[in-house]
């Protein structure tokens, strides 16, 4: 088995071949563009359930706007319920896309070219889902612009000392930069779609959005510089975003929240959950769209290793939180953690531990690392676990703070569930539209890392 499972090697670099089966540049264009131009029936099988989910979102939002946030299960100590849990969950999902597109680019991890386009799309859609929650949680979303430093008739300005305001800046910057980065990457591929277009509408639409790109080397030079700079900007940005999200909690005084471990722990958790979502999306898609030679088993293996690394960091953080709670000698802090593991929300805590600490450790086994089915199942567990992590952090600390007389148990209502399920509907609808209309593999980038792209082939006297 060992010899059979060896990956084919690149003749120039002597490393694992990124695209298997030795397709020509044109073959690759065909393989990536044809599903967009001639979609199969399978796409509808994914799109219709996604639309169903989106309609749940619509109904939940309508009822929310009609009745107010009272339809959620919020109560007095737990003013932040699922809305904040879902917000942090979705923002975290987005982080893997930026890690793949920016950080792996800076580290020259060329395998990222097969997955970066779809991961970046995932980032953008996840941030859209995330932003809906705090927007509607304000209760009066029509005055959400109060969060922005705009001159107004009340002559009031936002409180720049508040982490919630930092969040407004961080998440909106993150969304804007992710969208720009994604679009810049798309321009050459939209030009490919334009030049292949057979109908007028396609030619016009792809032509408009490709901005007249013609692959000029003088353009590529500025383009590559812009891409590198965006990667360099997105890297500290993505680390800052979840750091600031964690400040929402860490800057408050609540036991269980007020800890310095939060920023790194949140960032690791975000990347952990995001990679799980990348696997959840790409494992079925590579199969349905016949892209298994582009998004190879080695790509899945690499992502699984990142899940193992970040999952272990998250596990370490859980342990360290407990240690520090005891070592600090602060009775409130120790109580908060004992309460997490053995209090009324122990069920949630142990779901979190088993999904986030135990399942990623299975990746140590090569058989599991290289099995798409096993990785898919594992990624679902991680998604669930990371949602519960945010639930545990948010709800356990709020429901039992310093004063037992203000304690209360929190449970969600059907409308909380509707919002969460609905946000998945929104996410999958957007993702389906993405794979329907845009090339989901970064063609220009993947062509550039193939052996034939090397201008100095072996034996060249250059």
């Amino acid at each position: 088995m060992a010899s059979k499972e060896r990956d084919p090697l690149d003749p120039v670099r002597g490393r694992k071949l990124l695209v298997e089966g030795g397709p020509s540049f044109h073959d690759l264009t065909e393989q990536v563009c044809t599903p967009v131009e001639q979609p199969g029936l399978a796409w509808w099988l994914a799109f219709l359930p996604a639309l169903g989910g989106l309609s749940i979102f619509g109904v939940s939002l309508f009822w929310l706007l009609w009745r107010g946030v009272g339809i959620w299960g919020l109560n007095n100590p737990v003013d932040w319920g699922w809305a904040i849990v879902d917000f942090v969950f979705w923002v975290g999902i987005g982080h893997a896309g930026t890690l793949i597109s920016a950080i792996l680019f800076l580290f020259r991890q060329q395998w990222r070219t097969a997955v970066n386009r779809s991961a970046e799309a995932m980032t953008i859609f996840a941030v859209i889902c995330a932003l809906t929650f705090p927007t509607f949680h304000t209760g009066r979303p029509w005055v959400i612009y109060w969060a922005l430093p705009l001159p107004n008739q009340m002559q009031m300005w936002p409180n720049f000392r508040s982490p919630l305001l930092w969040d407004v800046f961080a998440v909106s910057t993150y969304f804007t930069v992710s969208l720009l980065f994604w679009y810049v990457g798309l321009i050459p591929d939209l030009a490919t779609m334009r030049d292949r277009a057979t109908t007028k509408i396609r030619r016009f639409a792809y032509g408009l959005f490709s901005l007249g790109w013609r692959g000029s080397t003088r353009h590529w030079q500025h383009y590559e510089k812009a891409y590198l700079l965006l990667a360099g900007l997105a890297t500290p940005l993505v680390l800052s975003v979840h750091t600031i999200v964690s400040f929402d909690f860490a800057v408050s005084q609540l036991p269980g929240w007020h800890t310095t471990i939060f920023p790194p722990y949140f960032v690791a958790g975000a990347i952990f959950s995001g990679f799980a979502m990348v696997l959840t999306l790409l494992i079925p898609i590579r199969k349905w769209y016949g892209l298994e030679h582009i998004i190879t088993i080695k790509h899945l293996e690499n992502m699984a290793k990142i899940i193992l690394l970040t999952g272990s960091m998250v596990g370490y953080a859980y342990a360290m939180e407990f240690f520090i709670a005891w070592y600090s000698g602060n009775p409130y802090e120790s109580f908060a953690f004992v309460n997490r593991a053995f209090g009324p929300y122990a069920w949630a805590y142990w779901i979190m531990i088993s999904c986030n600490v135990i399942t990623p450790q299975l990746v140590w086994f090569k058989k599991i690392r290289r099995s798409p089915v096993a990785l898919f199942v594992l990624s679902i567990f991680v998604n669930i676990g990371m949602w519960f992590e945010r639930f545990v952090i948010t709800v356990t600390s709020l429901s039992r703070d310093f004063l037992p007389s203000s304690w209360d148990y929190y449970s969600a209502t059907i409308w909380d569930v509707g919002m969460l399920v609905g946000s998945f509907g929104l996410f999958f609808t957007l993702f389906c539209l993405f794979i329907r209309y845009l090339p989901m593999i970064a063609l220009a980038e993947i062509k550039a890392v193939m052996p034939a792209a090397n201008p100095h082939p072996p034996g060249d006297d250059h």
Partner: protein, 188 residues
Amino acid sequence: MAEPKQVSKQASKQKKFGVLAEYDSAAAIFKACEKVRDAGYKRWDSYTPFPVHNLDKAMGIKPSVLPWIVFACGMTGAASGLLLQWWSSTIAYPLVIAGKPLFSFQANVPVTFELGILFSAFGAVFGMLGLNKLPQLYHPLFNIARFARATDDRFFIAIEASDPKYDLEKTRKLLEETAAVAVEEVDD
């Protein structure tokens, strides 16, 4: 000409964009670009479906000035972020929060940082588009059927008629001597 009637007066006076040569590999266009560069042409370009490594050097193009634009934008963004917070919390709306000073830079780092990044990203994207003179939805090369493969799997060099060294026969010959698979004249 053998059949002068078929060439209308307008068509014969049609301005020419230049000469286009097609190549079938990254290695071929790399060598061809070096030749055109060494022949001393200035107004010419190569077109590839993906960025060919170091092709800009083979063409003799100066490095991009984009980083300076981005740096200026980033500094502007960070400065305006800091200024906005300082002005709004000390002059426009002085309000003591949690007994802290009206202005202290520590609390203002996140917004300053984010605005610096935001402006830099705008600078990178719009600066790149500006330097490339995009969007430019029309280009004479788009009229050439074979040029559609510039975004697929073929590589092209176009030497423009406006180049001082341009001479249809000589330029054509130079391109034919490289490993071009096809050479043709392009109307403007």
